[in-house]
């Protein structure tokens, strides 16, 4: 019973809080609200963990979120859906339910899921604080202690509520819930923003690699969902203060979920905000992201926890030519993954062909994709230069996953750019 309570309290309750931040049809309020609420809850858990009580932190943040929600409510979604969208939403809901049912019988599945992420959830749940061996002891150096801990903070709440560290299914349920909410929010927001422009983002969110990874327990899908939704909200209403706040919270969630989260979010903010006429409003989202990210950064600096994947000496050695660059090899591996039919090769050609024959591309989002791909190229070159001869093996383990984010932005850039520059298909709308 406690495990069931853990699964429900960490998913349904944040949805109830999050939907108060969103104005629109129930399907948008509940889906986008669920993702937003999870970010709010997890940030509370993280801040609480830094202060010595994740549950108290999460509880207080939910109360603050509940109170602030109506004051910061942002308009999202449309009352009328495009033809076919209702069926697609129904299908996504069905798939989500199936994943949630399967999650009840699954432990924390993938290697990195427990190796890097869920072990921190256990450490936080047991100690009630980040001042614990899992985060600070050199014996746990292999868990990448410098990585931001939003996902473990969320999952730690499930461990604490269930009171059992030997059952992993509530964590799997959380991931299935998040994918379902994120997928529904993505389709409805894309449809509202650009009628009919949801097809490529849909092809991305249900791509085999995304669905598979969402059930493996890795942090890539939990990172990309708030990032994509935050990007959408920011792009849809670039001059609305409340939308900037909601987008800021979502992007803060992405920045705090993985090590590469902050630079990926920075690419989004740079392309969507810095390339517009500067206003005070455009400072809101970056400020929220930095404010949310800062406490964890201070914690790592205070305890001398540094990244071992990319560090100043590594970059310096590469720039000085002390270690060989593998840029062309990295680019080849990433390129072959992107265009391999068994991996991303179904989505990317569709995006490129659509962009080419219809001359449709959101330039800002397109540039974001390029920046994010370049970022990974550089990170792999720096990290790969220190891997010795095993670059292929090193990249093979995660190149599929790291491409999820830039390719999601690519799907958005073509899908949404589509209706902005050409006439939309004529259709009979349905409620």
């Amino acid at each position: 019973m406690r495990a069931l309570a853990a699964a429900i309290l960490t998913t349904a309750v944040p949805m109830i809080v999050g939907q108060r931040w969103i104005s629109g049809p129930p399907v948008v309020r509940c889906s986008l609200g669920a993702v937003l609420g999870i970010v709010v809850l997890a940030i509370g858990g993280l801040l609480g963990g830094l202060a010595g009580s994740p549950v108290l932190g999460a509880g207080l943040t939910l109360v603050v979120g509940w109170v602030l929600g109506p004051r910061l409510r942002c308009e999202a979604g449309a009352q009328i859906l495009s033809p076919g969208v209702a069926r697609i939403l129904l299908l996504l809901f069905g798939v989500g339910i199936a994943l949630m049912i399967m999650s009840l019988f699954r432990p924390v599945a993938g290697w990195d899921a427990w190796f890097t992420w869920s072990i921190k959830s256990k450490g936080l749940a047991v100690a009630g604080s980040f001042d614990a061996p899992v985060f600070l002891s050199p014996n746990y150096y292999w868990t990448s202690p410098s990585y931001p801990t939003l996902l473990p903070s969320w999952q730690a709440l499930a461990y604490i509520i269930s009171g059992d560290l030997s059952i992993g299914w509530p964590l799997q349920f959380q991931q299935a819930w998040l994918w379902t909410a994120g997928a529904i929010a993505l389709v409805t927001l894309c449809d509202a923003d650009s009628r009919g422009g949801f097809l490529l983002p849909l092809a991305w969110i249900i791509a085999p690699l995304v669905v598979w990874q969402s059930m493996q327990g890795y942090a890539d899908v939990p990172m990309v969902l708030p990032l994509i939704l935050g990007t959408l909200v920011l792009r849809t209403r670039p001059f609305d203060v409340r939308s900037h706040v909601v987008a800021g919270v979502l992007l803060a969630g992405a920045a705090l979920t993985k090590a590469e989260g902050l630079p990926l979010v920075a690419a989004v903010l740079l392309c969507l905000l810095a390339m517009r006429k500067p206003t005070v409003t455009s400072l809101l989202a970056p400020t929220i992201v930095l404010a949310a990210w800062l406490p964890w950064f201070v914690f790592t600096q205070r305890h001398g926890i540094a990244s071992y994947m990319v560090s100043v000496p590594m970059v310096t050695a590469l720039l000085l030519g002390n270690v060989p660059s593998h840029l062309s090899q990295v680019a080849w591996i990433m390129g072959s993954t992107i265009f391999s039919p068994l991996r991303w090769g179904l989505l990317v050609p569709a995006c490129l062909i659509t962009a080419l024959i219809a001359r449709r591309l959101d330039a800002r989002l397109g540039l974001t994709t390029v920046l994010q791909l370049l970022l990974f190229l550089v990170v792999y070159d720096v990290a790969g230069s220190h891997q010795g001869g095993g670059l292929d093996h090193f990249m093979a383990k995660n190149v599929d996953r790291i491409l999820i984010t830039p390719l999601g932005i690519l799907a958005l850039s073509v899908g949404l750019g589509s209706r902005a520059t050409s006439s939309p298909p004529v259709a009979t709308p349905q409620v």
């Binding site: 033809p83 599945a109 030997s166 085999p208 669905v211």
Partner: protein
Amino acid sequence: MERLAPFQSGLVVAGVLGLLVSLIVLRPLFRVRTTQRAWWVEIGAAGTALTLLLPVGVLIFEQTQHFRALQLTDVGSPAFGDPPMSEAAVRATRSALRPGESWATVTRLGPCADIDVYALYWLAFRLVPNPPDCARPDVELYLRLAPPPGAVIIDRGQDYWVVRR
């Protein structure tokens, strides 16, 4: 790909069913009046992804069944592979540890040097909050290697020995 071979027939059936589902779901979009050729490319991309959704669901189901067969409730194992040690070894080590005590694995390669590269990490996940300590462990788990004579063996199984230092 060889890992998928046992599920080939199931995946093909799921693919055919997925195609049917895809056609049903996307049918209203076929009737959209448009001259844009790109519209059909987008429908094709979404349709292909929808078709593949069911085979992916089958694979996740099979993975779940695999975990259930191995009675893994806490942590998974490599894709459709065996975990690095038996549940009995994990239980024995856990019950040997007192709060705050540390532990280490010992294999024929030495302390914390794994036959399976992830065995130490896998066990570390299972044994939180007791930390691994390769230099001065309180408890050692000998995996597929008998402990030296005179060691204080507190539990043993088919391929493991739990030793207190």
